[in-house]
Amino acid sequence: MSASETTLLEARNLTRRFGGYAAVSDMNLTVRRGTIHALIGPNGAGKTTMFNLITGVLPPTEGQILIDGADITGSRPDRIARLGVVRTFQGVRLFPTMTALENVEVGRFCRTRGGFLAALARIPGRATGTEAATRRRAKELLERVGLKDRGQMLASELALADQRRLEIARALAADPKLLLLDEPVAGMNPVEVHEAGELFGSLCREGTTILITEHHMSLVMAISDLITVMNYGRKIAEGTPDQVRRDPEVLTAYLGAEAAA
């Protein structure tokens, strides 16, 4: 089996109930290493809940989640991040009063060392070796997402598209094996969507596996290796973009029964 064929993330029989309502029920999802995997479905289908379950923000009611074969069900979000699963949020969640560069530097936290003692031991006013390395890496990542000139701006001052890029840079700073993008191009114009698509493609080629939810269908169809379609918390279809496009159940979910017929 080649490296690209191995399983990175596996969700088994995942269920999450809120009271009597099952936001996700009995979902199985396998994300292979080195692919861009899309999770699509109408609003309320359970995509964001899936993200919350995978990243440990919510514990599942039932089922198991494995990363590289290791069971992480019920682990805290910060441990899951250290294992290499990092996400962005549908409504961007940056650190608004920090600069763009500082936001990315925080993202390096789980890949660097040094607590209070290290902070006290440094020469006042000078960055330690680790801090200087963190800054260099953060600058590289800002350049990578096209925010090279905006490092000193406050995150809250950036335009929405730039905020989404910054959030991706911050996630990349944690060296993710699996990057979860929750509607990363919502609110972007066609040019920005195109650029984002190129970025996702090149990240994937460099070895970051991506799980993405998105309503922008032409982007999803263009970049995805595999698409899983959800509706009412369940998986209703899975396959390549071409297979999914022709699936009658998918058409029904998106357009209604009459249009599909």
Binding site: D78, I80, R82, P96, E102, F109, G115, F116, A171
Partner: protein
């Protein structure tokens, strides 16, 4: 060098700067505490007991007082993982009261009649050194790896957690460290006042420390220090006028005025 009055104002200013910075640390991670008086009491009583009853050297006793308060701070900090905002404020208020009542009934340290006969070890140079070290501590933390993480936790806990920041570690650590600094402030206070009783560390004291930080600006340690200076020196300056008996009223009115004009604090960042 100074007349006794000026010296006492300077010493209290210094002690208050230490106390304000002790609250600034948890506040910088978004944890508000109205129980700093409690940590101060633990440090004051521990240090004073060690110097008077055990004849320990002052510096060792002072550090032990800080360590004891820090230890209690770690334990009190644990619920802060689940309790947020105004509920945490109420919890810390309750904690402060528990400490006060504890010392009110604790015989070895004099209970309600207080602990007296404490030697005057807190001189101006000692206070200046304590202020310098505490400022240096805050300066070193700010902008360091851990300092960024603290800031991130304040700005957005969930976002911080999903990029790999251990909330438990950050919150408990800053709460404990802040408590330890408050304890050292308490030890300094005890060895200047020479007599301590539980009433000196009640809610009033916690509120005073809280005011210093809010007044100075919550996002900046220099602001907290300036807040401490204002809260200590302003009431003294108001003695100079004729309306002696009105000075605390005027002081209160000035605080209100400052918060109307600069709600983000004297040195805070406008958001």
């Amino acid at each position: 060098m100074f007349d006794p009055y000026t010296e006492s104002v300077l010493i209290f200013t210094g002690i208050n700067i230490v106390l304000a910075l002790g609250l600034y640390l948890p506040v910088s991670a978004g944890l508000l505490s109205l129980g700093q008086g409690g940590f101060m009491a633990i440090g004051a009583y521990t240090a004073a007991y060690l110097t008077t009853e055990m004849q320990w050297p002052f510096i060792v006793a002072l550090l032990c007082g800080g360590a004891m308060a820090g230890l209690v701070g770690f334990v009190v900090g644990l619920p802060s993982l689940r309790i947020k905002g105004v509920y945490l404020v109420i919890m810390t208020m309750g904690f402060g009261e528990i400490v006060r009542v504890f010392f009110l009934n604790f015989e070895p340290t004099g209970a309600a009649s207080g602990l007296g006969g404490i030697a005057t070890h807190t001189t101006l140079p000692v206070v200046a050194m304590a202020v310098a070290l505490t400022l240096l501590l805050c300066f070193q933390i700010r902008g360091s790896r851990i300092g960024r993480a603290i800031e991130a936790v304040r700005e957005d806990e969930l976002a911080a957690e999903v990029i790999g920041i251990n909330l438990t570690y950050v919150k408990v650590a800053v709460f404990g460290l802040g408590a330890a600094i408050a304890g050292i402030g308490g030890g300094l206070y005890a060895h200047y006042a020479t007599f301590i009783d539980p009433a000196q560390f009640g809610f009033q004291r916690s509120a005073e420390i809280f005011i210093m930080v809010v007044l100075g600006g919550m996002g900046n340690f220099v602001g907290a220090a300036i807040g401490a200076v204002v809260v200590t020196v302003l009431p003294e300056l108001l003695r100079l006028g004729h309306a002696q008996e009105w000075r605390m009223t005027v002081f209160g009115a000035l605080l209100v005025a400052i918060m109307i004009v600069r709600p983000w604090g004297l040195l805070g960042v406008r958001r």
